[in-house]
Symmetry: C2
Subunit: 127 residues, 2 copies
DNA sequence: CGGCATCCTCAGTGATACTG
DNA sequence: CAGTATCACTGAGGATGCCG
């Protein structure tokens, strides 16, 4: 078995100081994951995204998009028209990352029956 | 292209009310992701885990493990000895989930050069 | 429409102490 | 060793208002 110590990668997310941990949090964070998931479907304007990611506030979506853009996962394209039009889409890198995230999300969605059953068992034992 | 509306799954994480969103947050949350990642390597005792997940507090690790156990992703095995000995390991379901998470993490770790470069470009444009 | 600035709150988090 | 309990604090995040 490969232990963590043996991995010895340049960017080890298990280390507190590694920048990869920050990026992982942008990607997997509450709104990051959902935003990437939504963008995996295509290219969207700000308010379209906002509607797709149910519950996200304007501020958090804006903040999330900035973080992802800075990390090179999302491309922002603004047209200086009036009214302004801004489109967001994944970069090739973002697409790779989002793809893996989607695999996780879809597996989880498909396993919710198991999860819910486990919860009932757990709560039954504790209660 | 498959739009979100067309998916129409029983558990849609994009919906605010869906329980899958809660589980996704347990899995991808700050400590959840790292804990699952660590447990993917094998079976560990509480304090062993604590050392592997750099920076996690006792309280947060405990809380994280409880949430993952409740969701049926982690199995907890306590021996009523003295001193007490408790081992944690992934369930089969947890192993599937963690595997997909690992794929994401490792891709991200391997792409950090790109990410860091993107950040410099971004910061350069803004500054 | 697509934001940014501000204020405010409370839930997530860490530190500390204690227990079986 | 493997936690639980308590407290204090920070910052994530929501609400509101304004602007190009």
């Amino acid at each position: 078995m490969t232990t963590q110590e043996e991995r010895d990668l340049p960017y080890d997310v298990f280390s507190r100081a590694c920048p990869s941990r920050g990026t992982l949090e942008h990607v997997t964070g509450r709104w990051g994951a959902l935003t990437l998931g939504a963008l995996y479907e295509g290219r969207f304007r700000f308010n379209e995204l906002r509607r797709r990611v149910d519950g996200v506030s304007e501020k958090m979506l804006s903040q999330t998009l900035h973080a992802l853009e800075r990390d090179g996962l999302v491309h922002r394209e603004a047209q200086p028209t009036n009214p302004p039009r801004v489109d967001y889409e994944l970069t090739p890198l973002g697409r790779e990352v989002a793809g893996r995230l989607i695999a996780l999300i879809e597996y989880l969605e498909g396993s919710m029956d198991q999860v819910l059953a486990a919860r009932e068992r757990y709560d039954g034992r504790v209660a």
